[in-house]
Symmetry: C2
């Protein structure tokens, strides 16, 4: 199971085409065909159905492993590359949409005030892509958001040695269309909404399986899927009655056309966590330190 073979395997199923995958990877169609044949010979079972191109059951199994494997391979390479390459004048931050709130933006501002001529790039992507970017070295650090019980960490797939650090906690809110019966409430119980219509916007809002997990309940069935990282588009869908979504209250309150109602039960918060590799680059470490001391100060003030 050569990584190259795995790579063309996922490319083939991504493109639903051998020749398309070949073009994308810079191979000939012949090579791709041979790659798939080699994989199938190695594993002893047909992996992709041809014409139309689709995964067989065995191929579906492999698809659950291959992307994670390839990502971890990149992670290993990036981990080592970080050891020699040092460019302390550039900081790339990957960020899920709802994580880029006042806390993160403020910390970045402080960092730029402290550091002269720091070239900062903020990249807003989906939740999974944040992790992938950090792990593969395309970003120095990342901010991921999600819902969890207070002081519980967010669950992260382990893609190698990395550290997480709570960066911000806000109350969680549900987005309602303005004319919704519950829109005027002061608070809602999430467990009352399991049968409501929800928007599956796992890149932008809190993913539905996460809601299921924190409520320990089934339900939260998606009615429409929203891809991309655009909070306003999500709000527009909710406003038009396509379904509900969960976001941090400060973010939700600022969105037009919708009502944001805090979640009162179960007791949980929206938290954003900073995630960085075990051996971060210099400016990344600086931002981490900054957020840690901030947090310490906040804790001290609370007492």
């Amino acid at each position: 199971m050569d990584p190259h073979l795995l790579r063309t395997f996922v490319a083939v199923l991504d493109h639903r085409s051998f020749s398309g995958a070949a073009a994308a990877l810079g191979y000939t169609q012949s090579a791709v065909s041979q790659h798939i044949a080699a994989l199938e010979a190695d594993l002893g079972s047909r992996l992709v159905e041809r014409r139309p191109v689709a995964p067989t059951p065995a191929g579906a199994r492999l698809l659950e492993h291959a992307p994670a494997l390839l990502l971890r391979l990149d992670a290993a390479r990036a981990d080592i590359a970080r050891l020699h390459q040092t460019r302390p004048t550039r900081l790339t931050v990957a960020c899920s949409p709802a994580a880029l709130g006042a806390t993160v933006a403020g910390a970045l501002a402080e960092l730029r005030a402290v550091t002269h001529s720091l070239d900062v790039e903020v990249r807003v992507t989906g939740r999974d892509a944040v992790l992938a970017d950090v792990v593969a070295g395309r970003a120095d650090l990342g901010f991921v958001d999600g819902a969890a019980a207070p002081s519980d960490p967010l669950p992260m797939p382990d893609l190698g040695p990395m550290t997480t650090l709570a960066a911000a906690e806000e109350t969680l809110a549900v987005l309602f269309p303005r004319d919704h019966p519950l829109a005027e409430r002061r608070a809602v119980r999430l467990s009352d909404l399991t049968q409501a219509q929800w928007i599956d916007a796992s890149d932008t809002a809190v993913p539905l399986d996460r809601l299921r997990a924190v409520c320990r309940a089934e339900g939260f069935r998606p009615r429409i899927r929203h891809r991309g990282t655009d909070l306003h588009g999500l709000a527009a869908l909710t406003a038009a009655g396509h379904g509900l979504a969960a976001l941090p209250l400060p973010v939700a309150a600022a969105l037009p056309g919708i009502a944001a109602v805090p979640v009162s039960a179960p007791r949980l918060v929206h938290r954003t966590e900073l995630v960085h590799p075990a051996n971060p680059t210099a400016p990344a470490r600086q931002l981490v330190d900054l957020l840690t001391t901030r947090r310490l100060a906040a804790d001290a003030g609370r007492r």
Copy 2:
């Protein structure tokens, strides 16, 4: 980064020798030397220090990824192999030492009573090896034990799609030598023992980093290391005053020469979880069903 290269890389560092690794892998020493050279050329930095053979900093980074990568590669292969191979007359169960208690043994007995001529093999290994065995298809299912807050799941590294299921919960106990000042107590607070002498027996007893995690405290410094899966040996070490260890109360109470004192705070339990691949073999599914219905019955009885 060919998996073969990674495999010889970890073998070289395991054996602390090129020629030793070559013998173990069935290569010549020359091939191993070339493998390492190829890896180093690919990653652009020296990975192992020669004479004596030891990992460089970059090599240490790679060592944090390579075993996980190789394991997941095996997992993918095993996942697919499970699809065709079907031998419903044999069941291999991997088990960490403290997990093999009355509940698990009882469930296995029930299964054998129900199923005619089922060839059962129980393999007791360290915690990590249980996961590895299940994931790589060397066992149909596994039982892992650990300490956690009540109804919290044990943290598991994600090595692919698998399912966990709580199999048993027991109170946690600390092993003391009989003449220890605390040996006569009815209960102890774990957080009072952070500075005590502990045995690092991560395969057999609850690992110390797990204790640190559930106590949210540093400490639990190891004074002696115990490898292997032998509970009596661990008890002997404790009896001789080498240090403390944490085990489920029923198991601990049966050990000779020591005193087992329940843990009263923080509120936590020793739990053993069943873990099986997303597509289990037939007898594995049968055991899972058996434990699920048992559990349902127990829950119903409790009400």
